[in-house]
Amino acid sequence: MPSVSKRLATDLLFKGVLGLATVILFIPLIMILYYIIVNGAGAISWAFLTSLPKPPGEIGSGIGNAIVGSAILICIACTISVPIGVGVGVFLSEKPTHTIAKMVRICLEILQGIPSIVIGIISYLWVVLPMGGFSALSGGIALSLMMLPLVIRSTEETLKLIPQSLKEASLGLGVPYYRTMTKIIIPAGRPGISTGIILGISRVAGETAPLLFTAFGNPFLTFNIMKPVNSLPSLIYNYATSPYSDWQQAAWGASLVLILFLFTLSLIARTISTR
């Protein structure tokens, strides 16, 4: 048997290695944040946030259309996935043993694991082809497919925790079931459901792959959901892979904007869920 001091030394060494590995991992995190902040802060200005992209070499290029495009895509995704997601979540929590509920659960597990690029293909085949062209709508639909499982899960989990007594109190007053659900139970679960929606938005807001052949990208500003739109992630992709240094600079700026948006979302989600 090895001596006690040797064993203790091994233990200390092991602990040190674990700690070191943990610290090392955060080096890239810090580096990424550092580069985004240092390079991005220089690019950001009011004009940058509001003007449209310009060809490389021209000054005054901006990301206004990408910000608008991202907002449009997120709105479409929410419009589709929130009502359906909350509805299905209510169904799952109310009828957990229903045959349809069991099937939905399996489907959700699969849906959640579908690679985002495959979601892009699907939306291309379902929306872009029939419509005859790239569009914000097809991009929003792709994103809604990715958001849906998260909204459903969070609604179901939240509603399961709402005490049965609340439902009984309402039904006992002669309130119809659908009103009990819409006026008492869903509002009681609002914090949890909104957290789920926000997490869903932050999952899709940074997605590029499902937009490559749906929303596609557009150097101009458009509010028409039947037309292709730019978005922050697509803009970052296009600019980052371009050889022009001013475009790359703009990509850093857009990255900073995107990261700040995502951090704000997670901050909001945290505040809601701890309240």
């Binding site: 043993t97 005490p163 049965q164 007594s165 609340l166 439902k167 009984e168 109190a169 309402s170 039904l171 006992g172 007053l173 002669g174 309130v175 119809p176 009103r179 009990t180 006026k183 008492i184 509002p187 009681a188």
Partner: protein, 252 residues
């Protein structure tokens, strides 16, 4: 006057394969207090939940027999209308946590989409809280949430909420079992006063409570209606051996 307000005939309830209520028939008396007495798990809650069709929330529950409310079978009525005629107060106080005291009292109207003028609302809130004996305690805090109220006050708020709907029958399922003795006394007094205006059916497993306040008592055991009659008679000369045993054992 003994109007035939509520008649239960041949009521049986089963949950899955277990028979919970076994062929019960009984009539209730107009503007009297009837208590349903029996050991824990004998089916008291299940029985009164059948009366306003709240048993329908229990998965796999099946009911046979009939319950007539003013000669109308409640199982052929819309459950929503049944529940507005027959109010219910639960074992644990369950005021709506996000609503103010005021909104809790008129919650039944609000949630049902019944529009009331503000004077009418004020009137209903005040009357109901007075009837529940809570008015003087909360009249200065009507627009605060009910979270600061004691358990007994919350239970009376729930009674006020049920009374606001002007039900003809009020079901109370062990309304004092989660309360301290003082609050219990309050609620008992309140229930005795309320029988002037509503018919009361109250579940309890507290024998003293039954004897203190009720006019009629039904004794339930293992889903069977063992004995039913005036409280005085049931407590002094019980007909059934099981009633006698239960009363003597629990009283000692």
């Amino acid at each position: 006057m003994n109007k035939q307000i509520l008649e239960i005939s041949n009521l049986s309830v089963s949950i899955g394969n277990d028979t919970i209520i076994d062929n019960i028939s009984m009539d209730f008396h107009w503007k009297k207090i009837t208590t349903i007495l029996g050991p824990s798990g004998c089916g008291k809650t299940t029985l009164i939940r059948c009366i306003n069709r709240m048993h329908e929330l229990i998965p796999h529950a099946r009911v046979s027999g009939s319950i007539l409310l003013f000669k109308k079978n409640i199982y052929e009525m819309n459950p929503i209308l049944v529940r507005r005629e027959i109010g219910m107060v639960f074992q644990r106080p369950n005021p709506f946590p996000t609503m103010s005291i005021y909104d809790n009292v008129i919650a039944g109207y609000k949630l049902n989409g019944i529009k009331l003028g503000s004077a009418e609302k004020d009137n209903i809130v005040e009357t109901s809280l007075c009837r529940a004996g809570l008015w003087s305690e909360v009249k200065d805090a009507l627009h605060r949430r009910g979270a600061f109220l004691s358990g007994g006050q919350q239970q009376r708020l729930c009674i006020a909420r049920a009374l606001a709907m002007k039900p003809r029958i009020l079901l109370l399922d062990e309304p004092t079992s989660a309360l301290d003795p003082k609050s219990t006394g309050h609620i008992e007094d309140l229930v005795s006063e309320l029988k002037e205006s509503v018919t009361i059916i109250m579940v309890t497993h507290n024998i003293r409570q039954a004897s203190r306040i009720s006019d009629f008592t039904a004794f339930l055991s293992k889903g069977e209606l063992v004995e039913y009659g005036s409280t005085e008679k049931l407590f002094t000369v019980p007909e059934d051996k099981r009633t006698e045993e239960y009363l003597s054992r629990s009283a000692g």
